[in-house]
């Protein structure tokens, strides 16, 4: 029975029309949800944060999962993107007159972050592992320090009053673009180069992989999308400050990546969705809302002793969950595995064509 379902499912995946149709439905929903308030405002907001976190996790996975480095700089790239875009929409671009210029600001944020990624890639030529981790940490701290010391961009107080230009369709669009780009990258010779660096950099070099070029590309792609996410984030939160992009933010993204699983796009999507979703679901107001159907006799004590305190305790539950996941799945839930839908057909077939032939008895 389940085999039949699986065959069915596989058959469905092979349909060329499937992807465009899914994307079209996605876009229609992304436009319709805010337009007709199909979901309440709070859920819409959460959806947008989920999307932004997916972009962050998928892009960080490129460096930390596929390449096997331990970069702590992601929040720094995010900050660069956020500040660049926010300054553009507030001080440079005539956004009030032409709101259509917003994507330009987002793109600029991504490019600025990608440029920074280029800089961080240089030390990675010589330094690896823990020492590279420290370099990325230093980069994060330096970005934060620099922002704190420039009065023009608000210094430690940050920038308030950013226009809320990030919308569900834009978030959806960038999620699709980032997933698509990272997936295409990973299943190209450059992506395989990245994987081989994780496995054995010297052997990789000796198998003709231009490791420097590949590292450049990985860091740039990764930081580009961190910048995009930062730009979207700034125009959703409507306020940024250096403290928003500190090591705790990086830690959040790290958790999503490793929870979901290294070297897996599907894993990062899963990790980001679960982490963001659980954090929201465990809010006192959400839990109270979800349980409000209970009779007062049960609800009131539950509320008094448990739900009201969730605001803090959810922050205790989440790391505990992370530790448990790590103990049971040390590589994360989807570590080194991928949803079939993300694997290009050519790749799937090349890995399995001959194997199935063998099963049918033809050598």
């Amino acid at each position: 029975m389940s085999a039949m379902l699986r065959n069915h499912w596989d058959g469905l995946l092979e349909q060329r029309w499937l992807l465009p149709v899914l994307l079209a439905i996605g876009f229609v929903l992304a436009f319709a949800i805010p337009e007709y308030n199909l979901l309440n405002k709070y859920v819409q907001l959460v959806l947008m944060y989920v999307g932004i976190n997916i972009i962050l996790a998928v892009s960080l996975n490129l460096v930390n999962g596929y390449m096997g480095e331990f970069s702590l700089a992601h929040a720094g790239f995010m900050a660069v993107g956020a500040y660049t875009a926010a300054l553009l929409t507030m001080k440079v671009l005539p956004i009030a007159a032409y709101p259509g210029l917003f994507p330009l600001a987002v793109l600029a944020g991504g490019l600025a972050a990608a440029f920074m990624g280029l800089i961080v890639a240089v030390p990675s030529f010589k330094v690896r592992g823990d020492y590279l981790a420290i370099i990325t940490l230093a980069f994060l701290m330096i970005v934060k320090s620099v922002i704190e010391n420039i009065d023009y961009i608000g210094g430690p107080r940050g920038i308030p009053g950013i226009k809320r230009l990030t919308t569900l369709p834009w978030v959806f669009f960038w999620v699709v673009v980032s997933v698509w780009a990272v997936r295409n990258f990973v299943y190209s010779k450059y992506g395989r180069g990245v994987l081989s660096i994780r496995e054995d950099e010297i052997a990789s070099d000796l198998m003709s992989v231009n490791t420097r070029r590949v590292k450049f590309l990985a860091f740039m792609t990764s930081s580009f999308f961190a910048g995009i996410a930062g730009a979207l984030f700034a125009h959703l939160l409507q306020f940024i400050s250096p403290r928003v992009f500190d090591i705790i933010k990086t830690t959040d993204i790290l958790i999503m990546v490793y929870l979901g699983g290294i070297a897996s796009i599907g894993g990062s999507i899963l990790g980001a969705t679960l982490y963001t979703g659980l954090m929201e679901i465990l809010r006192p107001s959400t839990v109270a809302g979800l349980l409000s159907w209970l009779p007062e006799m049960i609800f009131d004590p539950l509320n008094e002793y448990f739900i009201r305190h969730l605001g803090v305790w959810r922050m205790v539950i989440m790391p505990l969950l992370l530790v448990l996941v790590m103990l049971y799945w040390p590589r994360g839930m989807m570590g080194l595995r991928e949803f079939r839908g993300f694997i290009p057909r050519r790749d799937r077939e090349a890995h399995h064509r001959l194997k199935t032939l063998e099963k049918q008895g033809t050598p």
Partner: protein, 295 residues
């Protein structure tokens, strides 16, 4: 003495105080790294818990300095061992990064658990009568003297333990070779537990001293201090115990000097830029050995 010299001496004293605290924490990072090649990101939070143990011992139990310090070190050591047994040991053969992420998780857990129980910053009562002497214009507080000498004392004891006792020999043997040492009858698990106990105990001591020097403590205090201590360990050459001490005093010195000459907001900028340069120039730290990759 001239004003200039007095000023410098004062700064050096401050640097020694900060450096000692970094050093005590850095030792824990470096010992664990040496033996398991694992970055124990929860270590900064063990330091924080140490400060809270100190608070409890001083307020709830009303103890004086010496028993408070002892109790804090013991409590932190126990915590270190428990964390290792529950969270890290099952991951010893897993990819390295799993243990690192687990450590991050444990650290977050410690922070937020403490926050849940103690939502507001706590004030540490003065456990020591603080006398300030004036030595030729340089003001020296008894607290500073105690912190510096106690830390140095602990470091000397540790250095002796690691280099001169059987336990220390076993530690160094394990960090040297992980495949064959277990076959030589060395009780690896016990040695690892001892390593965690010592490292965490030292972090507990650092927590106590930090709490006395800066008497307002909060659950997130371990993050930055922890990272700085970790950086000290890296600067000195991670895995190298004497290197960690040297790195800590260098970092303490750099931070104090930067604060003395630049606006305080530049402190992190300069400190981290220096760190960056150092790693690029000497990627294995001051006393670390480059690992040869045989092909």
């Amino acid at each position: 003495m001239s004003d200039g010299i007095v000023y410098w001496l004062q700064q050096i004293l401050n640097a020694l105080q900060l450096g000692s605290i970094y050093a005590l924490i850095a030792l824990g990072y470096t010992m664990v790294y040496g033996i398991l090649t694992m970055i124990n990101f929860a270590h900064g939070d063990v330091f924080m818990i140490g400060a809270f143990f100190c608070f409890l011992a001083a307020t709830a139990l009303g103890l004086s300095f010496a028993p408070t310090l002892l109790l804090t070190m013991l409590g932190a050591a126990l915590l270190g061992v428990v964390i290792e047994r529950l969270a890290y040991k099952p991951l010893r053969n897993a990819p390295r990064v799993s243990a690192i992420i687990t450590a991050l998780g444990v650290g977050l857990f410690l922070e937020n658990f403490t926050l849940a129980l103690a939502p507001y910053p706590k004030h540490i009562p003065p456990l020591l009568e603080n006398v300030t002497w004036n030595l030729g214009g340089v003001s020296v507080s008894s607290l500073q003297v105690i912190i510096i000498f106690l830390s140095l004392g602990l470091m000397i004891v540790l250095d002796y333990v690691v280099h001169r006792t059987p336990v220390g020999m076993a530690m160094r043997a394990i960090s040297w070779d992980k495949t064959f040492v277990p076959l030589m009858g060395i009780p690896v698990n016990l040695i690892i537990s001892i390593t965690f106990a010592i490292g965490a105990g030292l972090a507990g001591a650092a927590g106590t001293m930090y709490a006395l020097a800066y008497p307002v403590i909060d659950p997130y205090m371990g993050i930055m201090v922890g990272w700085k201590a970790f950086i000290s360990a890296v600067v000195g050459g991670i895995g190298n115990i004497r290197g960690a001490m040297i790195g800590a005093f260098i970092l303490g010195g750099v931070e104090i000097m930067v604060a003395a000459f630049f606006p305080s907001t530049y402190r992190d900028f300069v400190a981290f830029t220096l760190l960056l340069l150092l790693i690029v120039i000497r990627p294995y730290g001051i006393l670390g050995q480059p690992r040869i990759q045989k092909v």
